[in-house]
Amino acid sequence: MRPPDERLEKLEQALLETHRARQMPPWDPRWAESVMHEIRRVARRQPPVRQNDDVAHLVWRTAGFAAALAILLVVLLMIVSPKFVSEESGLVAEEIHLGSLFLE
């Protein structure tokens, strides 16, 4: 009697051989015809469309540029008018304070 690990390995090895010995079944002569029938049906509805890499690159570059520009504008706004920012936040704080009075 072999030790359990050795027996298990032998069984595994046999199944591996089984997998490798698998033979592909022959193709039905009408198989290719049936696939092409389906392809023609799909082609009428949804032909393959070449995806243009140049357009995709342009879209991503434009998006990146727009995001950088937006960040730049916000930074400039904060530098040029810090008072405007603090006034805005002051007004919001005041509204919150008044709101709490009504709740009381």
Partner: protein, 213 residues
């Protein structure tokens, strides 16, 4: 040994002369360009060049009586996705990723089989005993080619989850490297590595249960 089948009369990719391989890939790319340009009928040439390649992949993953149906699904997916083929990798590699992922989808849509050990017959048990008793390599190889062997393998694989089944088949049975399997599946290398280890352990547990019953 990993098998790569291309439209070269069944020769493996590694055994092909470089110029013959490059010529074959160029011919594929020309056909792809023509199909995308609207020559739908050229797809038939492309399909006939690669159906054995696809058939072997599918035959390794799904039951033989479902190979034709799954292969058809793969070629329809390849046709509709042809616009995304980038010509940066050989067409058979691109097709192989579609084939493997379609096989995965096949098992995900199947009902999980409830297969107790008792589902196997006395014939299967006798086969296990004969494998264990095989003395020579010839005897062992003969046992491995028997119908019972194939049924026991299918029974064991059917008890794995679709993910584990796919990884076990690709890595342990087909002999793909972890990196190759990850590329075929579109999963990370780490994910495939971890799963390959766990899946093999799961398969060993199933075989152990079978062997000790």
């Amino acid at each position: 040994m990993v098998e790569h089948y291309y439209p070269t009369g069944g020769m493996s990719l590694e055994s092909l002369p470089g110029d013959m391989m490059a010529q074959s890939f160029r011919a594929d790319d020309d056909l792809v360009r023509r199909v995308v340009a609207g020559e739908t009928e050229c797809f038939e040439d492309l399909m006939l060049r690669h159906r054995n390649h696809v058939g072997r992949i599918v035959g390794n993953h799904v039951p033989h009586d479902r190979v034709a149906e799954v292969a058809q699904e793969i070629f329809v997916k390849a046709y509709t996705g042809l616009g995304t083929y980038r010509f940066e990798e050989p067409f058979p590699h691109w097709l192989a990723t579609i084939a493997v992922r379609t096989c995965y989808d096949f098992w995900r849509t199947q009902q999980a089989a409830d297969l107790p050990v008792s589902a196997l017959t006395a014939e299967h048990q006798r086969w296990i005993d004969q494998v264990m008793a095989a003395q020579s390599d010839e005897d062992f190889a003969e046992q491995a080619r028997r119908q019972e062997a194939s049924e026991v393998l299918q029974w064991a694989l059917a008890r794995l989850s679709p993910e584990n089944r796919l990884v076990v088949t690709l890595v342990h049975l087909d002999g793909h490297s972890i990196r190759e399997a990850a590329a075929l599946l579109g999963w990370s290398v780490v994910n495939v590595k971890v799963r390959a280890h766990r899946a093999r352990q799961a398969l060993r547990n199933i075989l152990e249960e079978l062997e000790t019953r």
